[in-house]
Symmetry: C2
Subunit: 393 residues, 2 copies
């Protein structure tokens, strides 16, 4: 066993979840998925494919019709994307892994904007690369900010890859257009690849320009097809398809052939019946995504207002993604606090330390729920916990 693998932290979220094992009354907001199942019509498309016997290997890069559908969907949101720049992957995390395999030699340097979901920084460690962390920092109101100059200073000609996840899991922080432009210009000078995890691009709460679809700023709005840029997407979040393990990426055409080889050597291909559901979900997006956006906005507003009403809680409305990231006065050990909340109060939250030391002292609350009343009930439990544990009242 390699020491670097032994040293990789296990999931602190899972550790908290285990503390709630055997309790049926836990309100769980710890994982990054909605409690809403995939819509029936999307599932029916996979059912039809299975019934038709589509149980054979598919092309490494995905079904041509799915690559075309992804290209069309992303072109509707950003600058035109050709299907020759698209690869279908067996999840967003797999897209991130094959891209890092393509780009990172052992010893290479990666700069990552943190806190961030742990997979993004574990992958370069697995590949023997060194990760330099540049921290977002919270303001007094709990909104997380990037120091752009600090990030630009950290990215040098020795930086092989800049890893950025915006809208960000866990903080909701979202890159502005001006920041993206500055980073792209800088990375063109240093020869650094930008690996942009944009799986939450449609989960944005800033209002769009008139006539534009609601979508966070993307590097695909400003980059040329041949820029050193790979953008990763997933069907998990905007299409309520976490369990399907379907993702995709947009890369320069010259990289796609090599990514196809790496997909062969990692997972070979995504199941055809899963890909068919993806084609259908994209066709429904003009109807389904705005409805989901509306529901999540309502969840966000309910949850953040209720949390802000609690004494000692700091939380800002997230700009994007689907999490409230909050801090409770005097509580600095997020793992101990999260374990206590699940064990004593049946409230399941993710400890901020799961996202790196920069998140220590914070808690992540997934706000994606069919029923905002569930969120209110969770806040009631936090309030009750505060009364007997935090020593207030």
């Amino acid at each position: 066993m390699r020491p670097v693998i032994e040293d990789l932290p296990g999931s602190l979220i899972r550790e908290v979840a285990n503390a709630g094992l055997g309790r049926s009354d836990v309100l769980a907001f710890w994982f990054g998925e909605s409690d809403e199942m995939t819509p029936l019509d999307v599932r029916e498309v996979a059912v039809e494919s299975l019934q038709a016997g589509e149980t054979f290997y598919s092309h490494n890069l995905g079904l041509p019709e799915l690559r075309q559908a992804i290209a069309g969907y992303e072109s509707g949101l950003h600058r035109p994307v050709g299907a020759d720049r698209v690869a279908v992957t067996s999840s967003g995390v797999s897209a991130l892994m094959v891209t890092q395999q393509a780009l990172l030699d052992p010893g290479d340097e990666v700069v990552a904007v943190v806190p961030v979901w742990p997979n993004l920084t574990a992958q370069p460690a697995i590949l023997g690369a060194r990760v330099r962390r540049v921290a977002l920092r919270p303001d007094a109101g709990g909104a997380w900010r990037l120091d752009l100059d600090e990030l630009i200073d950290a990215v040098t000609p020795r930086t092989r890859v800049l890893l950025v996840n915006s809208p960000n899991n866990p903080t909701g922080w979202t890159l502005s257009r001006a920041e993206q432009q500055a980073l792209l210009a800088h990375c063109r000078r240093t020869g650094t690849w930008i690996l942009s995890d944009e799986v939450y691009e449609r989960l944005s709460y800033d209002l769009p320009e008139a006539g534009r679809a609601l979508c966070a700023p993307s590097f695909l709005d400003i980059a040329e097809p041949d820029d050193r840029l790979v953008v990763v997407h997933s069907f998990s979040k905007s299409f309520l398809m976490t369990g399907w393990r379907l993702g995709n990426l947009v890369a320069p055409p010259a990289l796609i052939e090599h990514l196809g080889k790496l997909l062969e050597f990692n997972t070979s291909c995504a199941p055809v019946f899963v890909q068919r559901a993806g084609v259908y979900a994209l066709a429904q997006a003009p109807q389904t995504v705005p409805r989901l956006q509306q529901r999540l906005r309502a969840c966000r507003d309910v949850l953040v207002a209720a949390l802000q009403a609690l004494p000692g809680v700091t939380v800002a409305p997230p700009q994007g993604a689907m999490y409230a990231f909050l801090r409770i006065e005097g509580q600095d050990d997020s793992l101990a606090l999260a374990r206590h909340l699940v064990a004593a109060h049946g409230l399941g939250l993710a400890p901020g330390a799961a996202f790196g030391p920069e998140g220590e002292g914070w808690l992540r609350w997934c706000l994606a729920s069919r029923d905002p009343a569930r969120l209110r009930l969770g806040v009631d439990r936090l309030a009750a916990a505060g009364l007997d544990h935090f020593g207030r009242g």
Copy 2:
């Protein structure tokens, strides 16, 4: 782009398949899958899971009931295997990749028995390890043999992993029990991990001992749970589930937790509806696997006899797996030959060079077909090609 990734060969099989694009009359035997779809009742189990809304994340290591079913199935074939030694993976190739990620630091040495399907040796190259190839060699009748002394000499205390795929794709070569015992004893002395790709364990044509199920010799028959051994299985071949991307591995208990982390960082989990189908397929195995074994044995006998009747063809009946590996006198460039066969004669075979330089001059023919008449028709095309191209007759 890393030079090591640019240098990875693309699929030569795909290159041949492209030469047949636009021809609807090609008899394709190039890919490693049967032309038989997954049985209806297995597909129906996935359909029921989808209809029940099982569209959420699952445990990194797989559903407990699937891990238990795999442990039970393998325990029925080999020495007892506990579910704590089992991980469910998103394909056999993914199981091989995460295991090599766990074991191989950059610069480490791997010994691989070749020719072999290219994924197995591409993975260490991706991870920056060095691959030392030990070649099987064909006898005059076309049966491939291992020089055990040569392999044992090649595995030294510097060898981190021994990669072996038995029954072997493409040659059908199968390790004997005595060879396995010698290798295990030697690797215990050198501290070398054995990574054993046994996805064809049930596709074996040697008759079993009385009262035993038909199964190739496995390292799981002789090893202790804590031996440095990882055995990889797949649902693709014995259960006709290639397109589902479902595999599994058996490893020492102490490794499983770390493999779970690596699964999180590679693909996170296999879809629940796919795993449900896996549980069902294993329950049906006592009926379905012997029937498949019988059909493939008939395919093998038809194909090998017809090929052996052609002048200038060397081929031995494979001991295991689902390929005939053949050589045609005077034909040394397998890629050129395979391209010619598809373009001029509508016969789709895989070039031996796809499996390494040791396979050059040979062709791989997948014998898994619903209909042995299709195999005969293919042999007729090869015979016709021989008459106008090989200058015989």
